[in-house]
Amino acid sequence: MSEKKKQKEDKLLEEVTSSEYKYGFTTNIESDTIPKGLSEEVVRIISAKKNEPSWMLEYRLNAYKTWLEMKEPDWANVSYKKPNYQDVIYYSAPKQRPVLDSLDDLDPEMKKTFDKLGISIDEQKRLANVAVDIVMDSVSVATSFKETLKEKGIIFCSISDAIQDHPELVKKYLGTVVPVRDNFFSALNSAVFSDGSFCYIPKGVQCPMELSTYFRINEAGTGQFERTLLIADEGSRVSYLEGCTAPMRDENQLHAAVVELIAMDDADIKYSTVQNWYPGDKNGKGGVFNFVTKRGICHTNAKISWTQVETGSAVTWKYPSCILKGNNSIGEFFSVAVTNNYQQADTGTKMIHLGENTKSTIIAKGISAGKSNGNYRGLVRISKGAKCSRNFSQCDSLLMGDKCGSHTFPYIEVKNNSSQIEHEATTSKIGEDQIFYCNQRGIGTEEAIALIVNGYCKDVLNQLPMEFAVEAQKLLEINLEGSVG
């Protein structure tokens, strides 16, 4: 055989083997996906794939039947083409993102964003799904944290694991704060939820660290229909972080998560979210629909504090709420919602005062730029029995440019005469005068906007855990880049 011929054969062999590998890879994935559309059959398949006990299947089936009777809500001040629910795939195996050989293969724009956020190289690799052949520090860190949590009796795992390992807790609390029937999306989530987090803090335990999905990195990524259940038993205390400041290029268009928080007597829960799903391109094409139901219940002397920084998604529909059931309980809501380009957001909170001497605080800051539309929608309800209760609300809107919109829809219902409510609202525009003033001091326009916006959001950003606050600040800058001028 001549040298040339051998080379040719080698090449052929290489082609055959590599293409075969490719083919095999594809088949493998297909086998673990079910047909699109939603039916009783599909719900059964999901439950079976997860090896769930029968009570869980019952729960899902009931939710599915309820969902069938419900209508998608259209009262929010957003407009979008309603998804075809029979065109969605409701179960796929833990998503396989393409594995990259090195960070050099990463979309340069994404890399730029990572750098701006100041994300470490290791973390970048994890986010971008780069194959790593050494054990990453963060993994071992996560393991050591898990040990510490275990010592304190804290349970922190995926909801799927919790259904298997702690069925008594899940059964007792799932759906008690957000009932299946609560709304169209909560019913849908209850029928098909894929995964999410579960957390239980035992009586009197102070969780020694910020619990974050960050520490669950070696487990499956977040899904389309996420379900979170967090229980803080009597006198316990926990701070929970979710989300990721790095941009999430998820191709799933529809996200319908449900989060339930239970704060027993004297418990204290702080729940912080940074949401940065793909918002669509500059022309409003694509992007995630984020329809989230988040609610917590406070028993006597308990406190729940929601903090959210919402910068992503094409359409956001989200109202983290507190039911202040116990006397002297406290609810808080701190929010920054940014919309740019063609994004739409309808977000706010509900504070339902039932117990006596309950207190709630709402600080909502909206920022609208481009051709976007931001809405604050909030309900403060003080029932007859909630004597001597108090609420303070402050809703501010900041407009950038003259093509965006901002609306505030505050609903206030007070049914006794010993309670007090305060509501403050402002709407302002980033003034050219403010920008020029900064320019004159040597601060460029982009920097100036970042500075002004950070000042405007300070009250909310201060609520975030320190390292998160810094990232959130940068995130705001990135999301508003190029929005003026």
Partner: protein, 251 residues
């Protein structure tokens, strides 16, 4: 340092400056006086580069470079400082944070690393002493809830921190009581050196009792109609602007 030649500028087809010639050399203090609406504030805005003002004709050079080509922040990096007649509020941003950002942006532009926090704080304290500024002021938000006097003093404090080559004080005396005026003027005098220059824009002669100008110019209807030494300011105080403007109107 600053050379303005045959400058014509205005807002939206409305010509306000109708041919200004002015030269300011290092170490000099110039006062620009004139009645309301004569174009004093327009002149300062054009030098600083405010976007809504259009330059129709003429040139402004600063240390031999064409200033009109530069963005406002680049002019600031080169050492042009404007003390605003109406300083702007920036809610939620502390004075120290604002000044830190401004100072470090300038350092970045000239190729220096950010000033270490410790040095910055020391530097701030030094300048606060100079301007008789009380403690606690650094953590207040930029101009938010400041009195008129505090706002003007804050302008001079920034000037002290940024160490500009050319400072333009636009009606810095307006809204100041006599004590605040004295403190602000003393601050300006202390910052004056052989390496920088100052343009004082004012309505009244009062400020010029504290900041002694080398030259006084009278701006009227978009032109400098008279220039002279400091005695010109006294004459104006005595006789009013009518004394010169009538003559110009006749011509």
């Amino acid at each position: 340092m600053l050379k303005i030649k045959a400058l014509k500028a205005g807002v939206e087809n409305n010509l306000i400056l109708k041919g200004i010639n002015l030269e300011v050399k290092v170490g000099e203090v110039h006062a620009i006086m004139g009645p309301n609406g004569s174009g004093k504030s327009t002149l300062s805005s054009v030098i600083a580069g405010k976007e809504e003002y259009q330059v129709e004709e003429g040139s402004i050079s600063f240390e031999g470079k064409d200033l009109l080509e530069l963005a406002p922040e680049e002019r600031a990096h080169k050492g042009v400082f404007l003390s605003f007649q109406y300083p702007i509020e920036i809610p939620g941003i502390s004075v120290s944070n604002f000044i830190k950002t401004a100072l470090n942006e300038k350092r970045k532009a000239i190729g220096l690393d950010p000033m270490p926090a410790k040095d910055l704080l020391k530097f701030m304290k030094e300048k606060m002493n100079l301007l008789e500024i009380k403690k606690g002021y650094l953590s207040r938000n930029m101009n938010e809830g400041f009195s008129g006097g505090e706002k003007k003093r804050n302008e001079i404090f920034q000037m002290a921190m940024l160490e500009p080559k050319l400072s333009i004080l636009d009606e810095t005396d307006s809204g100041l009581d006599i004590d605040a005026l004295r403190i602000v003027a003393n601050g300006v005098n202390k910052l004056k050196s052989e390496e920088n220059a100052t343009i004082v824009i004012t309505h009244y002669q009062r400020l010029l009792d504290y900041i002694i100008p080398d030259f006084v110019h009278v701006l009227y209807n978009g032109r400098i109609i008279k220039s002279g030494g400091k005695e010109l300011a006294h004459k104006l105080e005595e006789k009013g602007y009518d004394w010169i403007t009538k003559q110009t109107d006749k011509e």
